[in-house]
């Protein structure tokens, strides 16, 4: 009897656990969605696309612009941020977590777009038109990410005659395999492929917050301009300006959303101060509520913008703590709680068209008109203008000078100098050659896999 009881007990114990063992160990995460359940329909795909905009907006929240700017000549040494100082001294290394963070965010966008491309064919409720729209928006965002990546992490287009110099990792599909860098030429070709697809397939209407054919046009103009391909740059800038959808605003501060929105072609949207897509600008530059902002202007730039008494853009800078040991040149351009960030806008298109036409020595009257419109806004109507018969070289000089004043802290200056270095050579940036090693950021340490070529460091005095 005892034995029967014993064996029964043992049997029950073993059975009790063994029969349900896998069930006991099947634990799935809460608060997350499993991959297989995530993208079930068009609505899910739209959410995924929204997340691509979201991560791109965060990448362009000032970080990209300021990292570019830090390598140039508009800024002084950052207050005390070591990561920023490394960029400023053009000696970044692969430990710089701010650089690594930005680099990773761009590729998160690329990954999500690649996932979107993969998933779009699997869903029953996605029509062919829907599919094209998804793919086109994704292509636009992927091109944008690759464009900003190649500008920051590689020497500019034209650095080598055939652009075979190292570019970036080009991710065409979602994969965990480490890959090596493609050439800059290949990177630009990929960017243009994506943009051409976007251009061909996006709706030709004013949208603003999302990718449109105009946004693709404007980005194509920007990319070609960076490649010193003035013909194509002028073509696309002209296309977008000609349709009259984005009249230039009268505001000197493009980041004042209330007064400058008319000229926004593509914007990263902030909806409130808790959904702020200009965080890095505000955190690092804002000077009305921060005694020690990280980002300060160089004395040279401050004097430049104060060169002409009538320049209304002076309002965007000021001397902080004048006459004291702690005097510095502060930026007032971003003194807001939050704002939407115009990435593509009429002012830039006008600059591109004017300089491109001048470089091509074509349509100079249009170029002069574009420049005068910008200068009228800055200095007052007719105060500082190009003559109607101005030469191409005068237009180019004016465009480059005004461009620096117009876009300070927006990352444009450094890329302009690098572009010109690639085009003309003999460009110095803060006493260093335009193509010295430190003028490109170092890749994050995670990229140090077999075959991945890091950027050489140093060499910028």
């Amino acid at each position: 009897m005892k034995n029967i009881a014993l064996y029964s007990l043992l049997g029950l114990l073993l059975l009790g656990t063994a029969s349900s063992c896998n069930k006991l160990l099947e634990v799935t995460p809460e608060g997350e969605t499993l991959v297989e359940d995530a993208i079930q329909n068009k609505e899910d795909l739209q959410k995924l696309l929204n997340s691509c905009y979201d991560v791109m907006a965060n990448s362009m929240n000032g970080r990209t612009q300021l990292f570019n700017e830090l390598m140039g000549d508009n800024l002084d040494r950052p207050f005390n941020n070591d990561d920023f100082r490394e960029i400023y001294t053009r000696s970044s290394n692969f430990f710089n977590s701010s650089i690594g963070g930005l680099y990773g965010d761009f590729y998160i966008c690329v990954y999500r777009v690649n996932i979107l491309n993969k998933e779009v064919d699997k869903l029953g409720d996605v029509t062919e038109n829907d599919k094209i729209q998804f793919l086109a928006e994704g292509s636009f965002l992927r091109a944008l990410a690759h464009f900003e990546l190649v500008k920051l992490w590689a020497q500019p287009y034209g650095y080598s005659a055939d652009n075979s110099h190292p570019g970036i990792a080009l991710r065409r599909e979602p994969s965990q395999e480490p890959i090596t860098r493609s050439s800059v030429g290949a990177a630009y070709a990929y960017i243009l492929d994506d943009l051409n697809y976007a251009y061909a397939n996006l709706p030709d209407t004013k949208i603003g917050a999302y990718a449109s054919k105009d946004a693709a046009r404007a980005l194509l103009a920007k990319v070609y301009f960076q490649m010193n391909n003035f013909e194509q740059a002028a073509k696309y800038a002209n296309e977008v300006l000609s349709n009259g959808r984005y009249p230039m605003s009268s505001s000197i501060n493009r980041f004042d959303n209330d007064s400058a929105a008319s000229e926004y072609i593509f914007t990263f949207i902030s909806t409130s101060n808790t959904d702020n897509r200009a965080g890095a600008f505000i955190e690092n530059c804002r000077s009305d509520n921060n005694a020690t902002p990280q980002i300060r202007l160089s004395e040279e730039f401050y004097n430049l913008i104060n060169q002409r008494a009538t320049d209304r853009r002076k309002q965007l800078v000021q001397v902080a703590n004048p006459g004291t040991e702690n005097e510095f040149y502060a930026i007032t351009k971003f003194n807001k709680d939050y704002f939407s960030l115009p990435y593509l806008h009429t002012t830039e298109m006008k600059f591109i068209r004017a300089e491109s036409y001048a470089e091509l020595n074509q349509n100079l009257s249009v170029a002069i008109s574009d420049m005068n419109e910008i200068m009228d806004r800055a200095y007052g109507t007719g105060v500082v203008n190009l003559n109607p018969g101005a030469q191409a070289s005068e237009i180019i000089t004016a465009a480059r000078n005004e461009r620096r004043l117009e876009f300070f802290c927006e990352g444009d200056r450094t890329q302009t100098l690098k572009r010109l270095g690639a085009k003309d050579g003999n460009v110095q940036i803060r006493l260093a050659p335009w193509n010295c090693n430190g003028m490109v950021l170092q890749f994050p340490i995670s990229e140090t896999t077999t075959g991945f070529q890091l950027n050489p460091e140093g060499g910028c005095n």
Binding site: T17, P29, E32, V35, P174
Partner: protein
């Protein structure tokens, strides 16, 4: 029947022998135990001669003697008390001497807790170190595991820091993991307890210590299981050793009441020495001028020279005081044939030397066992404890860390108008305004039932519940956060519910006296559920522990629940032959929810054997060897201590709050790895245990080898994949080493006893593969400890510093090609130094003179390096950090030969864009010897105690960490910094970063037994 047979055989043997030695005298007979069971292999010999014999399978012996006379016959058998009998033999006489031997309770009775049971110590075939309550409770410590230091060979204990409640890093036979938990498995009364060090990350420069609420007074013994034979029964989780904690239970006898109290003070082992205000100004100005500037330097924090010259704040003084300690405990125990119980209540207030920092623990325990009838026994153990850590910031987070870094001596505590200075770091302001408490409520409870259905069979069912509730509460008043409204209170509750059920059946089978079998079969299921929440309440006039929050200003975020589960089946067979030969086979199958269906289960077998050589006949001539045993084992164990759900590819939750342009989003959050599987180690061990001169000297020497493969790693994948990290099984690690321990009873007289206990160990550790990944794929973060094939886990991976250029004063480094360079390039990093010491150990001396006892524990570590990660700022580019006086040995002018380079405010002078550069300049020899514990005790004479109606009175003086010998130039050679995650904890045990030194304590104690 047996008896008849044996006599018959004996007679036959006697006849046989007699026929060949007709004229000889002899002694013969039978040896049995007290119950009359014959004993095989008993050594029977004639004292003073080499004559002797062993009993045969029937317990029979015969010793033949040439001459008649009087002899002393000695009966010796391991585990039994040696008996002597004087006999007088006449010529040709054969004398029958039968003997019944009594078991030696001290030897046979000494048992060792092993997984799911106990074993006789002599029969244990695995490597187990046992510490009893006296050895554990001999000194105050922040947490019980710190008390293991220096007491067990091969067990490295690095006490975290001087912070109250600080945890220790415990490494058993090195480290075999990269990102999976590298700590041993802690099992308290059979319950693998929750031991997550990162529930609160490293907030405040400290990891939470899940063992801090354990009351050391409750501990009866600790067994440290080290090799595969010992840990196999915990197969899946024994890769880094197992620490079994057994709490006290009642014993048979009268009611016993013990009361103890201890009070003491805490001071730092060494006080940080920082530059004074004038010194800082002088050096800052020198750096300014070295950089080619003229005039007065721009000072950090916007302080003017006039203000700075008038200020000389010693921030270290502001942070350090004298900590007060007090401890009280009262316990009672009683037992009889029907039941036993043990209960204890204790209060411990453990103040550290950091002002405002203390750990208060109130704990209670009740353990009981009850025999329902002769077939069923039930019992329970329950402990409730509440630990309140009155927190202060430390390390990188501030407090003393700030006093050693960015709190400059030129900053005042307060402005002239009495308000706090806010221009730069002011840790006093933070400390006085910022309120912070971490409260942990912990209940570890278990119930069991043992059923004895037939003789020698025990069926045991056990259910346990380990509840852990840690809540961090902070309060920042409006003055601190510069807010127009009232302050902000935050609360971060964490709950871990850990359920465990075990069913085992244990059967003893004895075949005659020769063959002893023990069979164990069991299964175990463990499920752990973790919940957490964060609450932020604004407009608060006080912290949430005493102020009610207004709902309209309160946001609550519930984190998703996390669940993990283990299901295990195990079996063990122990076989002992004639108390001389022992074999153990153990196997365990473990399933873990952390692995996918294809790799869910791991199989962890082990085989081991032991041989008590001293029981052999051929050892009889070596009377000075009282005990000799050889044991060996080989087996496999594993590790699954990784974060939950890493095998799943996931997206954000459907209801996630991330929107773009007010539109919902969904996005991938984790890469899928369905092939994630167990990290496994193949472990082999060979050990010798020896006793000499009646065990006056006892020694143990062991060697081991552990090959770990499929190492679980949180890999830094290329960010261009769209992710940063990915869990995978990569690489391999080898650990091998040697351990030695010895006890010398140097003097053993009634009124004077002197005992020396010592141990030493050396571990060799090497990463033998890291797959396709680079050194930086798994890293100890900012500490620059990396995975380098051919080097130990967490080797320091640094740019070599060569010298200071006497002409320029610039630092000169060695590049990857061996050339000198003034550019610091991380591509030039190489593995350097020794993350693991060449040897660790301890030495205890105990003197007992009449009623006095004097005890000293020295611990030492030889040959390891310490990387002082704060030196790069304290002795590097001049920034907004204060510096240490070593900087006085710096380059000043051409021709100077100096330890440190020229002062500069520009990072480029040191060849880098950042002051955060790690070089070998800050890697130091961490060899030390430390008087860990010094105690003097007085046991009052029994008569005196009885006069006070007490059983015993004991008074003690205990001092800890009062002497340290080291060449390490930093604060304390025996600390480790806070860690970012488990990988960092595994990889950076030799790093300090503004870490508070350990405490030195002086204590008085009194124990009374009623």
């Amino acid at each position: 029947m047996n008896r008849v047979l044996s006599y018959a055989l004996g007679a036959m043997l006697g006849l046989c022998l007699g026929s060949t030695h007709l004229k000889a005298q002899s002694v013969y007979g039978k040896v049995s135990d007290e119950k009359g069971e014959v004993l095989f292999g008993v050594s029977v010999f004639i004292e003073g001669t080499t004559l002797g014999a062993s009993t045969d399978g029937n317990g029979f012996y015969k010793v033949t003697l040439k001459d008649s006379g009087t002899y002393t016959v000695v009966f010796s058998y391991l585990g039994f008390i040696t008996e002597k009998e004087k006999v007088t033999l006449k010529k040709d006489q054969s004398l029958e001497v039968n003997k019944k031997l009594k078991e030696d309770k001290q030897v046979l009775g000494e048992t060792v807790v092993v997984g799911y049971g106990v074993q006789r110590k002599r029969e244990v075939t695995g490597s187990v170190t046992t510490l009893n309550s006296d050895q554990i409770n001999d000194m105050p410590a922040p947490s019980f595991e710190a008390m293991l230091q220096g007491k067990a060979p091969g067990v490295q204990v690095i006490v975290g820091s001087g912070l109250a409640g600080s945890g220790s890093v415990v490494r058993i036979r090195g480290i075999a993991s990269l990102s999976a938990g590298g700590d041993p498995l802690y099992v308290i009364d059979g319950i693998p307890v929750t031991q997550d060090y990162f529930l609160r990350g490293n907030s405040g420069g400290m990891n939470n210590n899940p063992l801090a609420t354990m009351n050391p007074d409750d501990i009866e013994s600790i067994q440290i299981l080290k090799d595969a034979a010992a840990t196999a029964i915990y197969g899946s989780r024994g890769a880094n050793g197992v620490i079994l904690v057994t709490t006290k239970r009642g014993k048979s006898g009268k009611l016993k009441i013990d009361f103890g109290t201890r009070t003491g003070i805490s001071l730092p082992t060494q006080r940080p020495d920082m530059l004074s205000g004038p010194e800082f100004l002088q050096l800052y100005q020198e750096a300014w001028e070295n950089d080619g500037n003229v005039g007065l330097a721009k000072l950090p924090g916007g302080v003017t020279w006039e203000q700075a010259s008038k200020t000389n704040t010693d921030w270290v003084d502001q942070m350090i005081g004298v900590g007060m300690k007090q401890n009280y405990h009262l316990s009672a125990s009683k037992g009889n044939e029907k039941f036993t119980f043990y209960t204890n209540v204790s209060y411990d207030d453990n103040g550290s030397y950091l002002k405002g920092n203390s750990y208060q623990r109130l704990s209670g325990r009740f353990n009981f066992d009850y025999n329902l009838n002769k077939n069923i026994k039930i019992g329970a153990n329950t402990s409730l404890s509440r630990g309140q850590n009155n927190r202060v910031n430390a390390g990188w987070a501030g407090g003393l860390g700030a006093a050693m870094s960015t709190a400059l001596p030129i900053y005042p505590v307060r402005n002239e108008d009495g308000t706090y200075f806010t221009g730069g770091t002011n840790p006093v302001r933070t400390q006085e305004l910022f309120e912070w408490r971490t409260v942990e409520n912990r209940a570890i409870n278990g119930v069991y039932m043992e059923y004895y259905p037939i003789k020698n069979l025990t069926v045991r069912l056990q259910g346990s519940y380990d509840y852990m509730d840690i809540t961090d509460r902070t309060y920042e008043p409006k003055e601190l956060i510069n807010s127009s409204h009232d302050g902000t209170a935050r609360e971060y509750p964490n709950w871990v519910n850990n359920y465990n059920t075990i069913a085992t059946a244990n059967y003893n089978l004895k075949i005659k006296r020769l063959h002893n079998f023990n069979f164990l079969l069991g299964s175990e299921y463990q499920r752990s559920v973790y919940r957490s929440r964060s609450i932020e309440a604004t407009n608060m006039s006080g912290p949430l522990w005493n102020t009610e929050a207004n709902d309209s200003f309160t946001t609550v975020f519930n984190n998703p629940k996390q669940v993990s589960a283990f299901l295990s089946y195990f079996g063990r067979i122990n076989y002992a032959y004639n108390n001389k030969y022992f074999v153990q086979l153990a196997a365990r199958v473990d399933g873990s929810s952390r692995f996918g269906i294809n790799y869910r289960y791991g199989f962890f077998p082990a085989i081991s054997g032991g041989w008590i050589v001293s029981n052999e006949e051929f050892m009889r001539g070596y009377r000075w060897i009282s005990f000799a045993k050889v044991r060996a084992s080989v087996g496999r164990n594993g590790n699954a201590s990784i974060p939950n759900y890493q095998r799943f590819g996931t997206y954000s939750p459907p209801e996630n709050q991330i929107q773009y342009n007010n539109q919902p989003t969904t996005y991938p959050t984790r890469l899928e790895n369905p092939n994630l599987r167990w990290e496994t180690s193949l472990v082999s061990d060979l050990s010798i245990e020896m006793g000499f001169l009646k065990d006056r000297i006892q020694m143990e020497l062991g060697v081991y080898n552990k090959n770990t493969k499929d190492v679980l790693a949180s890999l830094a994948v290329p960010k261009s994949t769209g992710f940063s990290n990915y869990w995978d099984n990569v690489g391999a690690i080898v650990n091998r080493g040697i351990e030695f321990s010895a006890t010398f009873h140097v003097v053993d007289r009634k009124n004077f006893k002197w005992t020396i206990i010592t141990n030493a160990a050396r571990n060799y550790n090497e990463i033998t593969s890291i797959g396709v990944y680079s050194e930086d794929a798994v890293s100890g973060g900012t500490n620059d400890t990396r995975v380098v094939v051919g080097s130990p886990v967490g080797t320091n991976f640094l740019v070599p510093f060569s010298h200071v250029d006497p002409q320029t004063g610039k630092p000169v480094y060695i590049d990857i090609n061996g050339n000198q360079t003034t550019t610091w390039d991380p591509a030039d990093r190489i593995p350097v130094g020794s993350v693991l010491p060449k040897a660790i150990g301890g030495l205890t001396n105990t003197f007992r003179v009449k009623n006095w006892e004097f005890n000293m524990l020295w611990v030492y570590s030889i040959g390891g390096n310490i990387y002082n990660s704060s030196s790069k700022r304290q002795l590097g580019v001049v920034t907004d950090w204060n510096m240490t006086p070593e900087i006085f040995d710096r380059w000043r002018e051409p021709g100077d030969v100096a330890a440190y380079p020229r002062l500069t405010l520009q990072t480029q002078t040191y060849g880098s864009g950042t002051p955060w550069i790690n070089t070998t300049l800050y890697l130091h020899d961490g060899t030390y010897a430390r008087l860990r514990n010094l105690s003097i005790s007085y046991n009052a004479p029994e008569k005196f105690a009885k006069r006070l109606k007490l059983h015993a009175i004991r008074a003690q003086f205990i001092a800890t960490n009062i002497l340290t010998f080291t060449k390490y130039p930093g604060l304390d050679p025996e600390i480790a910094r806070d860690f970012e995650d488990a990988t960092d904890r595994n990889m950076s045990p030799n790093i300090v970063y503004l870490t508070p030194p350990q405490e030195m304590t002086f204590n008085l104690g009194l124990n009374l037994s009623f």
